[in-house]
């Protein structure tokens, strides 16, 4: 490192320290650490596909029919033959029209707003014991199959980078993407804030037998 570079490093560090949080001190490449990411390196890790517009979806395609085969082999053990879920593993199908119910069922069909997200998630995280090992075509096929199980696309649907962003998911328009909180306006009253006669215990955890033990070895309790 040349002495002028050293000097500028010291000055730059001092500027950053002086500027505090949110400092916009240095020019790109100022520190010069690391190596430039090569196109090959980026291609290997640049796996994301955006839900809203499908940007990043790769070439390839998959049919509902092919998806049924991949699903039976890779997915059915946990998610059930028809997406109904095994044990506590997630259901992928059903729940349409239940979102206002007392016990809503949140599935790909009833809840997910964007079809490309399904491709992205299967690709990055599934199958659970061997994530990110399926081909792009197989992931497209699984996406097509699961959408078809939910009656969102017809049996002849072919999933690819063009078709998936165009799929209108049933719950697409029911999300608010800006946070409306604070949505409560409690006041910090100090004395005689409520009528003591009106205070009732409406629920208690006592006797519900849902609480694992908090001493001794780890609990292995299962649901009643």
């Amino acid at each position: 490192m040349s002495s002028s570079r050293e000097l500028s490093a010291v000055v730059g560090l001092a500027m950053i320290l002086a500027a505090g949080t949110g400092a916009r001190g240095a020019e790109p490449g100022y520190f010069g650490y690391g190596t430039k990411a090569t196109p090959e390196q980026i291609a290997g890790w640049d796996i994301d596909a955006r839900g809203g517009d499908g940007a990043g979806l790769p070439a390839g395609n998959g049919t509902v029919h092919r998806g049924a085969d991949v699903y039976a082999e890779q997915c059915a053990a946990c998610h059930g033959t028809f997406g109904e879920g095994e044990g506590r593993f997630p259901k992928l199908v059903g729940g349409a029209g239940t979102l206002r119910h007392d016990r809503p069922e949140l599935t790909v069909g009833s809840y997910w707003p964007f079809a490309p997200t399904l491709w992205d998630y299967i690709n990055r995280a599934m199958p659970m014991p061997a994530p990110h090992t399926l081909s792009a075509d197989d992931v497209y096929a699984l996406t097509a199959y699961i959408l078809n199980l939910n009656d969102i696309v017809p049996g002849e649907f072919v999933a690819d980078r063009e078709s998936l962003p165009k799929v209108k998911m049933p719950n697409r328009d029911n999300f608010l993407w800006t946070d409306p909180r604070p949505d409560t306006m409690a006041k910090p009253c100090m004395n005689a804030c409520v009528d003591p006669a009106g205070i009732k215990i409406v629920s208690t955890a006592e006797g519900k037998n849902l609480t694992p033990r908090t001493t001794g070895p780890l609990d292995t309790m299962q649901a009643k």
Binding site: T21, G22, R24, A26, P28, G29, Y30, Y33, G34, T35, A37, Q41, I42, W45, I47, D48, R50, A55, G87, R88, L99, R100, D102, P104, Y111, W112, P113, T117, Y121, A125, M128, P131, N174, F175, W177, T178, P180, P182, A186, C189, N191, A192, C193, P196, I199, I201, V202, S203, T204, A205, E206, K208, L210, T211, P212, T214, T215, L218, T220, Q222
Partner: protein, 433 residues
């Protein structure tokens, strides 16, 4: 001396020299009594062998030497102070959560081995020499950084809590879980050391179209979330250390993101990729999960902020009272909106409140300790704490939250916890009208 030898020593029961052998079993019983009464100052029932006038066996022997435990560990009698899970909650332990034992913690810093865990594809064990962080997308010069590169950048240490937004999520409908640990233990707090994310982003050069940042982990879930660029430039840290030592594998070793005051899920562990873009990604973790379903069937997304919350950590179901008298009510408060301004405590279910004492340090987006002396008369009591943060926001009751959000939103239950104290001193999780 071997560290376990003292366990088998016959303990003197008194001055008369009569020996009362205290085997492992009864010793552990004694230990449990110690643990259970630590915060109360009462006397264990069978403590005579170590109480005056007797001289304890550990006072009449030589202890284990230095480096007997080259990396220290808690006393054997604290073996029950551990992270715990709710086995019936998830399909397996790989995509699951464990809860920090808040009932046994005494400060604002969570010991590294007790920091709550949330994994989506289990805990990867990563070789730091092979780990890489790639920063690309709408940047001037995409970079690949090694851990050595990252540690070389200017370093910053800050104390921040991390809370899973599902903390308390089992209580939306009703009081169900009789435990401080399981109702509130998905919050922990540590001193984090690393480099400001803004430093890394300035180093790669942010293109002017960039508005959003996708962060992704190296775990099997390739966990990813979208964050607004403004937050990334404000106070996010890319950290490699936790409470002064390297991150624990469960907390993202060798590298994680800390997004101060925002829901735990965005604090990506095992961080390997940062990509800048012009729109959010709408990943699975910010659409099908970590969104809040409202009674009218709509959902709220991108609800990152952790609203102000507090909880009384003593007494609690795990730490009941032992007879009337003077106690110190203790608790923790936190807010993603900055600092805690005030905590009030009620012993009558919210009719009357007293302002508790806040203990220094009161740090932004960190756990804050509060206490209030209380003389318990042995009568039934309903204990509550209520925090007010520096924005003036007041912690709501569960009834107020339900009025806005119903019972199906899973996340962001920051309501006031009510502990019912019965005349026998036992404590139960309840909800009031």
């Amino acid at each position: 001396m071997r560290p376990n030898l003292w366990r088998s020593i016959s303990l003197l029961s008194g001055r008369d020299g009569a020996r009362a052998p205290l085997g492992r079993r009864s010793f552990l019983g004694l230990g449990a009594a110690f643990t259970g009464s630590f915060a109360l100052g009462s006397t264990p029932a069978n403590a005579e062998p170590a109480s005056p006038p007797a001289d304890a066996p550990w006072s009449q022997s030589i202890g284990a030497g230095v480096v007997d435990r080259p990396y220290g560990r808690p006393a054997d009698t604290e073996a029950g102070v551990i992270r715990r899970n709710v086995p019936w909650l998830t399909a397996g332990t790989e995509s699951s959560v464990s809860f920090s034992p808040l009932q046994d913690l005494h400060g604002i810093i969570t010991p590294n081995g007790l920091f709550f865990e949330r994994h989506h594809a289990g805990r990867p064990d990563i070789d730091p020499d092979q780990h890489r962080l790639m920063i690309h997308g709408l940047v001037e010069r995409p970079l690949v950084l090694t851990m050595k590169d990252i540690v070389r950048f200017p370093s910053t240490s800050r104390i921040h809590f991390i809370e899973c937004p599902a903390n308390g999520g089992m209580e939306w409908r009703a009081a169900q879980i009789n435990s401080l640990q399981f109702n509130h233990g998905m919050v922990s707090c540590a001193e984090w050391t690393g480099v400001r994310l803004s430093t890394l982003l300035e180093e790669v050069g942010i293109r002017k179209e960039a508005k959003w940042v996708m962060v992704e982990g190296a775990d099997g879930a390739h966990m990813n979330r979208s964050l607004p660029l403004d937050k990334c430039l404000d106070d996010c840290l890319v950290v490699y250390a936790q409470n002064g030592e390297a991150l624990r594998p469960e907390q993202g070793y060798p590298l994680r993101l800390v997004v101060p005051g925002w829901e735990g899920n965005v604090n990506i562990k095992w961080l390997r990729r940062i990509k800048l873009g012009d729109k959010p990604w709408f990943s699975r973790e910010e659409t099908s999960k970590y969104t809040d379903l409202m009674p009218d069937g709509t959902s709220r997304g991108f609800t990152w902020l952790i609203d102000a919350k507090s909880v009384i950590t003593f007494p609690c179901p795990e730490k009941p009272l032992h007879g009337p008298g003077l106690y110190e009510i203790r608790g923790l408060a936190w807010t993603g909106n900055g600092k805690i301004k005030r905590v009030d405590v009620s012993t009558d279910g919210g009719v009357n409140w007293q302002t508790a004492r806040l203990h220094e340090p009161v740090l932004s987006k960190a756990l804050t300790k509060f206490t209030l002396p209380w003389r318990w008369d042995g009568q039934p009591a309903l204990l509550e704490s209520r925090v007010i943060d520096e924005t003036g926001y007041v912690q709501p009751t569960i009834a107020e939250l339900r009025k806005q959000r119903g019972t199906n939103s899973v996340y962001h239950n920051n309501s006031i916890q009510t502990w019912q104290v019965k005349p026998d001193g036992s404590v139960f999780d309840v909800q009031l009208t």
